[in-house]
Symmetry: C2
Subunit: 190 residues, 2 copies
């Protein structure tokens, strides 16, 4: 059943190693040369498997998003938004990776699908709302992860770190709650 494995590496495997490198060193240090070294291969070898670094990052983005669970019935917007956020938070700089590839993947992604499923099906503005929620989650999580990066190489006080985490969560809940409330109200006006 598994496809023939003549070469040493296939796309799937390379994406896995890239994800590992991402978690250990962050996006700025995820270079084609480092990835190649990790695979015991020349950098140029990667260009047989991927057209470009963009192409590689798009595959990494897809893998990050694949962690989002299937849209299940009865999921409310807050739960759906949390599922997307948590998938992004699972890997270092996950939001930035997804964002950088989001423009090239125009079709409704897995993320968009879960969010859409948590909104009323009869309102035609629901697609717009789902997109807006996705953009909020991406913006929010990107900024959160960027601050993590800043802290790690020792810029500010470690004292406020727990505070920041709590505030981040509160901002997220506030954002989604307001949109939920707004959607309910828009709906109750028929």
């Amino acid at each position: 059943m598994t496809p023939p494995r003549t070469g040493r590496h296939d796309r799937e495997h390379i994406v896995g190693v890239a994800l590992d490198l991402l978690d250990r060193f962050g996006l700025p240090d995820l270079t084609m040369r480092r990835l190649a070294t990790e695979l015991d291969v020349q950098a140029s070898a990667l260009y047989w498997h991927f057209d470009s670094k963009q192409d590689l990052l798009a595959a990494v983005s897809d893998r990050i998003l694949a962690r989002i669970p299937e849209p299940s019935a009865g999921l409310d917007l807050l739960a759906a938004a949390r599922a997307v956020r948590d998938a992004l938070l699972t890997h270092r700089d996950g939001a930035e990776v997804v964002m950088s590839s989001a423009a090239l993947r125009p079709g409704p992604s897995r993320a968009q699908d879960v969010l859409r499923s948590a909104l009323p099906g009869d309102v035609d503005d629901a697609d717009l709302a789902a997109t807006a929620v996705l953009q909020f989650v991406l913006g929010h999580t990107t900024l959160v992860q960027q601050r993590m990066h800043g802290e790690s190489h020792g810029a500010a006080s470690t004292a406020g770190a727990l505070d920041d985490r709590a505030t981040d969560a509160a901002v997220f809940e506030a954002g989604i709650s307001l949109i939920s409330l707004g959607a309910d109200r828009a709906r109750s006006r028929h």
Copy 2:
């Protein structure tokens, strides 16, 4: 009144040229070396004026945000959000520049202030809401501008370009409207 101009360039001037380069070639091509060439100077000369490229980009970010008008009374949330978005759209890749420096500028920025001023002063969740709105605007505009970049070097159909612009605007209005509705409702519950 003007401070002494002994050297050929000061920070203000360099930021202006950087912004011009940004508009003409985009963020990936805004390199220290290109900027130096544009200023008829060696790249190393820039490091007398700025500690690092990050430092330079932070100054560029501040200049982009400086275009946001003062928070005036009676401004509603939609108008305030538009003011922030329009400032970001004024320069190519503006949202990405601001986002990349946002983590290092933790204090309430000019953008946060306008948004905050458009929300009720008596609700203590208003700060959370203002931050959430800012994160939505940044996420939204970053994705919009990334798609512009993708189109420009000729990926997809030019036919749907106008369509995209209209959809982008609709998503933005939908997002802000829903949050406004939600905020009203949260407020009317005392």
